[in-house]
Amino acid sequence: MKKKINIIGILVLILGLASCTSEPSLQSYYVDHQDNKNFMVLDVPASLIVGDNSQLPAKDQETLKSVKKAVVLALPLNGENEEFYKEERVTIEQILENEKYSLLMRMGSSKSGVRISYLGDEDSIDEIVIYGNDEEKGFAVARVLGDDMNIGAILKLAKSIGNGDVNVNVNSLEPLMDMLGEKNDSLEMKINKQRQIKNGDSLK
């Protein structure tokens, strides 16, 4: 019974989303593809990436807190899904061409490249979208979600991460780094590990 309600709820939600915007969004792309076996989904809460930073100035801690989580959707090439990859790549790049995703920068070639854009106002950003593509490995889209993220402050923080001022759990970043590079089996293991950690996190 409960399941039925859930399904109806999701259907209503999808219909609602579909009716208010006719153009495809990343959100709907995620919803449509997260169960597809060609895709990997990684849900990374910010708390997992960022460790204990109580020694940082209060202002920086606040900035860190404005980032809630990162959701990564990846399509790694496995030797059999090249056609599928080509089609999906066109779709996702079309979505990102939409002007509501303000482009910050892009670089690379048609073989491999990176594109960084954001959603929201320039001084209160709701979502940072990082898209990476490599014709030999596949593509991945990361949505960094938060409330009123001040990207200037985040970039500044990124600098201090580089300086080693911010405590980052490097291990938790590994699966992200490996996402496109590693063999699928080891990746799945890591994702399972991620899920366990995530579940543990939500139990708290």
């Binding site: 892009r106 070639s109 200037g152 500044k156």
Partner: protein
């Protein structure tokens, strides 16, 4: 009445301007071409980072960044695409009323800078560079375009922060 004429003119002229843009945009889709685009969105955000800097030199650099519109760089090691780029560059220079700023040859690189006059002396609204030659033993062609309100005295500082082929040539602009 006057307004509508201006509007019609603007609509008629728009394709001409956008045409000049797409001349180089088509390269971005090509294989063998590396492209980098940084937009004004990025510059606005970057300028925010060190806004409270007391260092006057830093402040000048921030001013430069804040007033940039975009930076585009395309480069290729493919000589036939490179030749096409040069052709498009030349015709863009001729049609877009850009003036030669400087040109030089060093090692085995041929570098030309062109600019469009800007708001005041020593400022330009567009800076374009064509570099042809060899880098690390490979032929290379680079087209770089910077638009905005650019202080020529400051632009050389960009060279350090831009990690693209040809960026180091910016250091020689003064």
């Amino acid at each position: 009445m006057k307004k509508s004429i201006i509007l019609v003119l603007a609509i008629m002229l728009a394709p001409i301007f956008s045409n000049a843009q797409s001349k180089f945009e088509r390269y971005e889709k090509m294989r063998d071409v590396n492209a980098m685009v940084i937009t004004s969105n990025m510059f606005k955000l970057l300028a925010e980072i060190d806004l409270d800097s007391d260092d006057p030199e830093m402040q000048q650099y921030i001013n430069l960044i804040e007033n940039l519109k975009d930076i585009k760089v395309i480069s290729t090691e493919n000589t036939s695409i490179g030749a096409e780029m040069k052709k498009d560059f030349d015709s863009h220079i001729n049609s877009g009323s850009l003036e030669k700023l400087m040109s030089f040859k060093d090692d085995n690189k041929n570098v030309q800078f062109y600019s469009k006059p800007g708001s005041k002396k020593n400022f330009v609204s567009q800076l374009m560079m064509l570099m042809q030659g060899r880098e690390d033993g490979k032929p290379i062609t680079v087209v770089l375009s910077i638009t905005g309100d650019i202080d020529l005295k400051e632009v050389s500082k960009l060279a350090k922060d831009l990690e693209v082929p040809g960026a180091e040539e910016l250091e020689k602009v003064n």
